[in-house]
Symmetry: C2
């Protein structure tokens, strides 16, 4: 392309995008019809355990998951970094981690512990549960830690496509949402965000008009019985409204490691994660995606909608 | 016992021990004949992985290992702490850890990273190999870190019986031996130490006359072929000289987790550790111990020889 043709193309893009973006739905901004049903199938918790990595990589490789996110402070980070370098098109974000929830298998922060004391339990690990974490965490220390997580991932050769928050800690207080938004803006990354009706608007005060806001998020939760697993997920697909939705899954192989990691915690435990893997890789789930005209999208697609740095 | 009888017993001990200790062998100080063959069968690397913990606990439970030591910075520490609390008589020391040697599974220090920068590789993990660690580590930062490891273990409810050094980092330079000895003295713990002929005496300058020095240590090393595993170990037992020896083994189950932890590293890898487990729990090994009149001892026994705090 000649230089002046390139210039014209850039101008055209610059002129058309912002005006259109105000009125278009997120689906339309992604180049789809307004009534398109777009879905991110998102595998959480990469790097937490080898069994989680192997199941999640298998699902990504066969297109059963369209995106995933990585827990930087966890011990298997290097395994995920190797995968990321070997699969540069894989849609991998950072599952910013401010909790360490398992009983016998724990991790601490990336930052020097004495600089993030408000994140730590008495043994120097991250807190076990979201409530405790949200009550104790000082936003400036959360920001220090998540910046360290982003920088560590970059140093390891990971080029994250998006940010989200392990156990939703960063979605729980306006000051923590602001930390997430600030770091995401600085690194020009989209981040998981919903606007939930009834939540006071100060929760979203740090968002910019150009931020990507998903239409809805689905995630299996404890009351579902194992025998209803497939039906829970196919029901989501059968009733999925138009727009951009995310389905969060936790994929792992139910083996000795994963059973030990999740010991005494059947919710989101080892068998749970195997069930999630079995469903998303099943012919029935694939068929339900096709029959309901659901197209998979990724956070990389959403990232392209952000203003250029 | 009446108070004055107690006092007399104490005096007797105080009078008899130091004089005797000068002339007695370590075996005699432990209450055995001078020609007794005493052996610590020591399982290294507890807390590194679930498969390591399970195999090591199984060996300790059935008396196939008489002692073990724990890697405090590793993610499965809580699993080991639970075992330690449930088995207060188990002989568990601390395998002071200044390296993180596996390819895809890493850990950092316990101390705030910015206080132990000389211990860290470019990604903030402990160095992969002993040589690199020994070249870079500042003794005062090694001391800060191993103190933090001891304090963390105590806080987790572990009462260590002894100290030793993962990948022998603390045995490699006089200043590092001095760090190990200083911390061990402060916590009144025996620590793994040999006096190797030909090593300049400044290596041992920090040792006290009351420190326990083992007669010899055995550990399998790479040239041994898998089919020679049992023979390697039974040969050690058949030719064991009198005195107090330690046989270091690495016990783990050869499963998906352990194979991934030790990927690309057959030496001391997953199959290696399963072989070690198979040998020490075998009837042939048990028989060789009996036929060669070898008695198992523990670091707790050795700790009783130290001067009382």
């Amino acid at each position: 392309m000649h230089n002046h043709a390139l210039l014209a193309a850039c101008l055209l893009t610059a002129l058309s995008l912002p005006a259109g973006a105000q009125n278009q739905t997120l689906a339309q901004r992604l180049g789809h019809p307004a009534d398109a049903k777009l879905l991110i199938i998102h595998a959480d918790d990469l790097a937490v355990a080898h069994a989680q990595d192997m199941a999640s990589f298998a699902a990504l490789d066969r297109g059963a998951a369209s995106s995933a996110s990585i827990m930087v402070p966890c011990p298997w980070l290097t395994e995920v970094a190797e995968y990321a370098k070997a699969h540069p098109q894989a849609d991998l974000g950072l599952h910013l981690t401010l909790t360490s929830e398992w009983k016998n298998y724990r991790w601490g922060p990336i930052s020097p512990r004495d600089q993030v004391l408000s994140l730590l339990d008495p043994h120097g690990y991250l807190f076990s549960d979201t409530g405790e974490a949200v009550r104790h965490i000082k936003p400036e220390e959360a920001e220090r830690e998540i910046r360290a997580q982003v920088e560590t991932a970059l140093k390891m050769g990971i080029r994250p496509t998006h940010l989200d928050s392990h156990m939703a800690v960063l979605f729980a207080r306006p000051a923590l949402v602001a930390v997430l938004a600030r770091v995401a803006h600085e690194y020009h990354l989209p981040f998981l965000m919903l606007k939930i009706p009834g939540v006071p608007p100060d929760m979203y005060a740090a968002l910019k008009p150009t931020d990507v806001v998903l239409d809805r998020v689905f995630m299996a939760s404890p009351p579902i019985k194992p025998e209803d697993w497939l039906r829970y997920y196919t029901h989501i697909l059968e009733t999925l409204p138009p727009g951009v939705s995310e389905l969060i899954v936790h994929l792992a192989y139910d083996d000795a490691e994963m059973q030990a990691v999740t010991i005494d915690h059947p919710d989101y435990g080892s068998a749970w994660r195997q069930r999630d893997f079995n469903v998303v890789t099943s012919p029935e789930f694939r068929k339900a995606l096709e029959e309901n005209h659901i197209r998979l999208v990724s956070w990389r697609d959403l990232g392209k909608l952000l203003p250029k740095p």
